[in-house]
């Protein structure tokens, strides 16, 4: 009973938002009196720029998550015993993505701190077409988040199993892969899915660190919105709904599986 007000707020605002976005996408100019139709969706799905943005978004999500997961495991193993080091690792977690993106520009951009300290970076990382700068930014932000998830799932029983594996002569890598990973896999998989979903819909990092020539779904929708007019707004809403559906498709199955396989 006590949860009803919060659930009502979430359901009304969140469902309202999704319905509103869907309505905007099929009813361009709803506010000023337009007509219903799937024209915006047809335009979007036939648009090569949308397909490029979708492919680039998926690349960023997969690459960022694939790098963040092993980095998180390594971080968790490294800081496991020190509460101070844990706090250091946890430091970027509450830092907003916009701030981390600004840090990336400050450090990795032309004339940035990395340029000054190293006397010039061998590669361009801010605004690069492959999105390496964006991926590194997400790695910096999301690896600590996933490391905290690993540490939260790392219980006494995991320690006992790791000790037993060590007694049988398993090395650090073997212990991590054969003991730690299976123990934390459900929580880590869900965390990784959340990271991938976030990357799919995030605006700030690609906006600041990305290349103006290569859009993600979010920045593509922003470009459409900037064009102005009901038709462009309807297309922007359709693009954002695709991003939202993709994010949900990444998280929901993993959440269901993680619940089933929790140790």
């Amino acid at each position: 009973m006590g949860a009803i007000p919060a659930v009502a707020i979430v359901v009304v605002l969140f469902t309202g938002a999704m319905v509103g976005a869907a309505w905007t996408s099929v009813h361009p100019g709803a506010i000023v009196g337009g007509s219903l139709g799937a024209g915006a969706w047809r335009e979007v799905l036939a648009d090569p720029a949308f397909r490029r943005a979708l492919a680039f978004t998926l690349w960023l999500a997969v690459a960022s998550t694939a790098l963040a997961v092993p980095a998180a495991l390594a971080l968790a193993v490294a800081v496991r015993r020190s509460s101070l080091a844990r706090l250091g690792v946890a430091a970027p977690v509450p830092v907003p993505h916009l701030v981390v993106a600004a840090l990336a520009v400050l450090w990795l951009g032309p004339g940035g701190l990395a340029d000054r300290l190293l006397g010039g970076l061998p590669v361009e990382l801010v605004g690069d077409r492959a999105g390496v700068g964006i991926i590194l930014t997400y790695l910096y932000k999301e690896a600590p988040f996933l490391a905290l998830i690993v540490l939260a799932a790392w219980d006494r029983a995991t320690d006992d199993l790791l000790e037993a594996a060590a007694a049988f002569g398993a090395g650090p890598v073997r212990r991590t892969l054969d003991v730690l990973v299976p123990r934390v896999a459900p929580a880590l998989a869900l965390g990784a899915a959340v990271v991938a979903a976030f990357v799919v819909g995030a605006t700030e990092v690609p906006l600041l660190v990305g290349s103006s020539g290569r859009d993600t779904l979010a920045t593509h929708s922003l470009d459409l919105t900037r064009l102005g007019g009901p038709a462009a707004r309807a297309q922007a809403a359709a693009v954002l709904l695709v991003a939202g559906a993709l994010a949900a498709a990444l998280v929901v199955p993993v959440a269901l599986l993680a619940r089933r396989f929790r140790p």
Partner: protein, 255 residues
Amino acid sequence: MTRRFAAGALVVPLLALVLQAAADQWTGAAVVPQRLGARGWRAVVDDPLVGRAIVNSAVVAGLALALALPPAWLAARALHETAGRARAALVAVLLAPLIVPQLAVGTGLTTWLLRLGLADTLFGVALAHLVYVLPYVVVALATAFTPELRAREEAAAVLGAAPLLRFRTVTLPACLPALALGVALGFAVSWSQYGTSLAAGGGLPMLPLVTVPFVRADPQVGAALVLVLVAPALVIAGAAVLLSPRTPAPTPEVP
């Protein structure tokens, strides 16, 4: 050594912001600024648009927090009174908005805010922020409602304490750290919302929106603005340091 590197590699980049914000002159390949000064901070203080953005963001964060706290308190309590599938369903519903792009939520809500006459108003933006603030506040408050607290509340009830007295003398003191965390976290989430502010706020100046153009165009002012933007997160991190146990975790080094 590995631990120091891991922690240092994540904290040091944040400190560089302070240097950049104070770098009045930093040209060429110089590793340190040629001249330190307050140009960046003066721009933050003197620019009326930035000032309005900071006030707007503070008002919106306060509004979103005020709207989030009462239902979040009740929901956090309810989470500890439910179990199994019902609890999993409750958590899923409350956290569902977090996986959907902010820009999508903001764009969708704008349709209704326009109809209600709330588009481009601080209250409208606060409603959009509430979608993301509420789950975080619930998660923070949920850490307070432990079985121990419930046992203490029941003991107070058995001893004849009325509900209000129980709340004032048992529940509230026990929940204060989680409440403080919830307030800080909720404020920080709203304070830094970019996507929802952009979509639902329209032309309203908000701190994240005015920060973005400066980051590439004027790094010194951008760094000062980013420090303002990161301040609530630093408060949370500072509180975590102060409240964290001083002793290392009593577990062997593995693997």
